[in-house]
């Protein structure tokens, strides 16, 4: 599973800490999601998609893409 969280975050000029505060998680958790070490729960994935005004499947996608 890959994701575009880092790209979307950087496009908005946000730091990992900024995004972490917006999503109410730790900065380490944002880093772990971006590097693929941690798969977020469905509620958190939905929150991430909502924050970037994207569908979940536009942010998180299979490795083949």
């Amino acid at each position: 599973m890959q994701n575009d969280v880092r790209k979307l975050r950087e496009d908005q000029g946000l730091s990992q800490g900024d995004l972490a505060r917006q999503l109410a998680v730790s900065r380490q958790t944002i880093n772990a999601i971006e590097t693929g070490k941690y798969l977020p729960s469905l509620p958190l994935a939905l929150s991430i998609g909502r924050f970037f005004s994207k569908k979940v499947e536009e942010v998180f996608h299979d490795d083949e893409r």
Binding site: A20, L23, A24, V25, S26, Q28, T29, A32, Y38, P40, S41, P43, L44, L46, S47
Partner: protein, 133 residues
């Protein structure tokens, strides 16, 4: 639906638990005739640990988890995984201790009891969470 970073559980829960456990242990030690200095020695270690994680829990996500207050869902998962590792070690030591004591022909009821507790806790957990989900 929330992924709140507000730590769950009470901030003073771990510290209070440590103090209660320390008080119980010091009571047992004193009731068995231990010196006050000796009994206090054990209490001091528990109190220092409890106070340490109470004071530092907001400075580190790891310490916050040690204090029983994981800051978000990832730390909750890490905490659960660490508990599973600890339970696995407890099961291995209990079974190993039981087998060794059995082989040596020594009393092994303590290890048998621990095996019962670990196995009972596991099966109880399986049934409980299966029923809840």
């Amino acid at each position: 639906m929330t992924t709140s970073d507000k730590p769950r559980g009470r901030a003073y829960g771990a510290a209070l638990s440590g103090l209660v456990i320390g008080a119980v242990l010091i009571g047992i030690e004193l009731s068995q005739g231990a010196s006050v200095a000796g009994a206090l020695g054990g209490l001091i270690i528990i109190v220092l640990y409890s106070l340490g994680i109470f004071i530092l829990q907001n400075r580190s996500e790891t310490i916050s988890t040690l204090a029983g207050r994981p800051v978000d869902e990832r730390w909750t998962q890490i905490n659960t995984q660490a508990l599973a590792v600890a339970a696995t070690f407890a099961a291995i030591v209990s079974l190993g201790g039981f087998a060794v004591m059995e082989a040596l022909g020594r009393d092994n009821w303590q290890f048998a009891f621990m095996c019962l507790v670990v196995a009972g806790g596991y099966f109880g957990g399986l049934i409980w969470f299966r029923w809840r989900s």
